[in-house]
Symmetry: D3
Subunit: 245 residues, 6 copies
């Protein structure tokens, strides 16, 4: 497995926990390679993804603080920076101002790779809203005429990470990422989110399932370990390469 640096990894996530379940492996791999990794949470998921806290009678600000602390702990576990834009969820509203904030982050962070949600998700409108803004801001940041500090962005590839019900979200994986070397870190990051214990098993099972598929697609001759763990991604733009493999 390559250990060469690739460049900074930017993850744009609708809610505070999304990056942990869906992309923690990719983040930990980047960090282990020595690449910067940064998570931008557009909201804390305070209304839509904090059912347990609401049922326990907590208040809005308390919940936001809680989700923030959990996400910070998970990011630290993975070796990533994290920034919260606190734009509100359920619904996460698309506004030119929020897109502009993302443009400025692109210009300043200069990612080499971008991860975000799928553009379709009939179970959660915030996810596509985040993806649309992440995609739009990336294009705007490429334009020298866009009025924001920094140099025009290059064309970092974008990958969609896996939604909860992939087939309903038009998610057809075209990249299976081997996260075996960092799975323990992903597990520990998941354990930073104690309100969703059932998700720990669910996403461990999913990593096994995607690992079985990775081995099937890689072929038996590669000698991958029995318990290969993987994350699935969809590549948005054509891959550019000098080698077909």
């Amino acid at each position: 497995m390559s250990t060469d640096a690739v460049g900074p990894l930017l993850v744009v996530s609708a809610h505070a926990g999304d990056f942990v379940w869906r992309a923690a492996g990719a983040i930990a791999l980047a960090a282990e390679r020595g690449d910067r990794a940064k998570v931008v949470c557009l909201s804390y998921g305070e209304r839509g993804e904090s059912a347990r806290a609401w049922r326990e009678g907590k208040g809005l600000e308390e919940i936001k603080a809680l989700r923030r602390a959990e996400a910070e702990a998970a990011a630290a576990e993975l070796g990533a920076e994290i920034e919260f834009l606190d734009a509100g969820d359920y619904p996460l509203l698309e506004t030119p101002e929020l897109v502009d904030r993302l443009v400025r982050i692109y210009r300043e962070f200069e990612p080499s790779v971008v991860l975000t949600h799928t553009l379709a998700d009939p179970y959660n409108g915030d996810h596509p809203a985040a993806a649309r803004m992440a995609m739009q801001a990336r294009v705007l940041a490429q334009a020298i005429g866009y009025d924001a500090p920094g140099e025009p962005l290059g064309a970092p590839p974008v990958f969609f990470f896996e939604p909860h019900q992939p087939e309903q979200c038009e998610f057809k994986p075209d990249v299976l990422l081997d996260i075996t070397p960092v799975f323990e870190r992903k597990r520990k990051a998941m354990e930073c989110l104690p309100a969703q214990v059932h998700m720990w098993e669910y996403y461990t099972d999913l990593a096994k399932r995607r690992g079985v598929q990775l081995k099937r697609n890689a072929g038996p001759n590669l000698g991958l370990p029995h318990e290969t763990m993987a994350e699935a991604y969809v590549r948005v733009y054509p891959q550019t390469t000098g080698v077909l493999a």
Copy 2:
């Protein structure tokens, strides 16, 4: 650009000339890397792709010999082996026997990468027929229980090369391959097919067009040369990797 060997490259082509227009860059890159490259032509394209020879009044065997000689010359220019199965074209009939011959080639050649036609082509039924057989034989060759010499095949990735009218063939490129370093060899290989002079320009223009797109997708910061040349491919199975990039 990587120059590490990848392993043997197998190209399954319906007619004698297809591999030149559509995949010569990938073949030449493999050869330059030191990888074996082999082209299997299921037919000579003697009926369907030799209009000029027929108009000149040549006979069937003469045309087959002509197409064979041209294709051998082009393969030699690219550094590839070539084998002709002479299964007839227009139509290229799908038979268990022909699929079995392909299985034996897979088992013996042990490709690490496979290139073939798209599964849809409303302009030429031989192309999808070749692709279906290439795909089926690859799966059969993987089964230890399939009765043919050699070890079970691994799971080499498959790429579709570009058809003449890509949009009509559901061809949405997801890999753009930089063939700039070997474009001169591709051009010379094309010039081994003198009956189709107009195609030399057509596919040179296409390589430029795909090169412009490659630069657009790679981003300006990579400092690619002004005249980047490229070939477009569709990846059939999910990419398996240890690095998202």
Copy 3:
């Protein structure tokens, strides 16, 4: 045919007449089963679907009153409640406020089934706008953290009713609903809309056509009546069931 109650039926419609042509059968069936049925009209269709009244020189408020009276009569015929949000049409603008009104209706009405427009309609932008809002509000109403009265909503299935030109709206029916027992009520409801006499025949013919298809898909052995009448629907979320049938 089952006559067990299913639970409340909510229909979210862009304009005042839509529910009559497209979903009157489902509404009447619900009412006959003893289920509550409620229609929410986001607008009166006063600008976009009242050509005849405009040609007759009527004014805006007069047209709105007219459309309202017709829709009330049709709803009464079907045994349904009806509510008008008067949000304006042509265009029907998507706003957080209008979505919030729908959330409150979901929370209060607690539907077991939801009907709305398709997400694509190149002939009428109000229809997809209504569908997007109906879908989004349903998700928001499920979140305990969403600030609106009432309990969090369950996960009522959503069905798209049939648009005027189904194939152009990506409408591929996956449910054919037998409305034979209530077709007379549908017809009477249609006749409450006297400005569109030609539509009475058009949607009667459509019900016959969908009925023929229902019989074809149900099989001849079921002994359905010669003149089976049907409405077509698209199911949005996977059906959950204990019996495959």
Copy 4:
């Protein structure tokens, strides 16, 4: 959950084991309801799905007998009849004769529901071949003019069961079947296939995963058990019904 009889269930499967991993829940539910259930295995999977036996040096007839015995045991566990057509696998060839055998089975068994593979599977050509034949034979059996014993078939609904890599097979579930009451029988049926121990866990995990999705789609208010187990299906023809739910 309904316990009314639905009518005979027919499962058409390419290889001997397919019905266990993919449809055992549906079969056991049918048997528990008192419906006849019958599995037709077009082949034993002797070449393509018996890698371990081949590696152990077993011969072709021995392997076929082995797979037959396993499948019979699994069917017995589920309460299903089973028939083997021994048509050969890898490749499973589509022939008019094999289709005719299926027509005769349809005519004699008179299924009310049919289960089979998806029409796309880039990992295994036998699966789509089986599905195409199952679909074609069903249509032929409906024609009074088709020369085979028995009455013309009705129009039993067809469901595709879940392939190994669903997204790569265009498998978008539209029915989630609650198999919690019979999951133990499915597990025992899986344990009748000792050569594939790793699959026991894999398909237990999958049932949990589909169960989580079933609960998500059914809504929290239904009070489903914590460990709901499910199988996913794709419905091929429109559902015909008297009730939208």
Copy 5:
């Protein structure tokens, strides 16, 4: 409406009656323009589309003669030639010999326009089989090297005519053909098929429905008659034109 001749129209139909319900309008328009029109029926529909005759106890040859006589009468009504290849139906088998017969018809008839079935039809496998052969033969006939009498064919556009359940057959109309001037001839041709009286009304209603859509897409300003009748088609290859309209 243009009355300029277009050139010969070829209709390739699986069964004897298909061309009447689905394409009689296009055929009659061609004949009225003075263009030759020819229908090729691959089978008589003797097994799959003659339920009533079988129920009446007629024999195979009798049914074939009956269907032939009906189709000849309908073709005569429309002003078309008709040829029967008697290749058998249910199933209509795809063979190189049958394709070759079609190639020879293309070469001899030199059509300017070709009509056939859709490539998908889950209700009737003969329809896609006929379409695949019609498409393949057209391509083969274009090759000078294909061994059949006559000159190589040009590239006549191909249109799919409307199947019974359009949405289930991926039929998204992109051409609406105004058949008002010849609808009476279509009706009379339908009345040549007395065993299917219910189809007369069904396809009259369909023509009205497509006519309403034609008027909607053409715009009110064209002054089309109230009862515009239409047939729907799907264009297979890009339209080539000197005028966008």
Copy 6:
């Protein structure tokens, strides 16, 4: 080639240069036929499509003036009127006000044909935004109840012109327009945009490529010139016609 007038042609373009690269041929053909042609530029492309001017240090107003002058020169070369709405780009914001301005243009210009961008473009969000507004305004302008001067619009057909990376934008051409007679005017119009010299060749090559495809689809028998030049379009609504050809 027809030279009859078709009626006014309206082109709705996101940025000042788009209409030149993508639709100049259609515009020049309209003008040569004697039809009015009008280009509406929603923005000047001042931020997103003026990289060179920004790198040269020009200011915003200067760049807008520059782009305006270039576009006016190109429109004059083609014989078209041009109007600039100066709504800003990168991002081009969708607002009810901007849509209303377009409605008024539709009502006043009464186009018979409309050209605009594709609805998908992952490289440039302004293009789909322009297309959505052009489509929505066309529908609004059809409603007599929409409050704007002029008569209700008919139903002019809409065509999408070709984006830079067609396959990535779901652009499957279904009309190939022969622009050979006016290609020189297109070339001169392109030369009015001196900042993008490399585009002159790129779009000349594209016209050749689409021309080769046009000849392939039209058939060799039409005697088209060797260097046929073409533009590709996607037709949005069904074609309505009295002749299949």
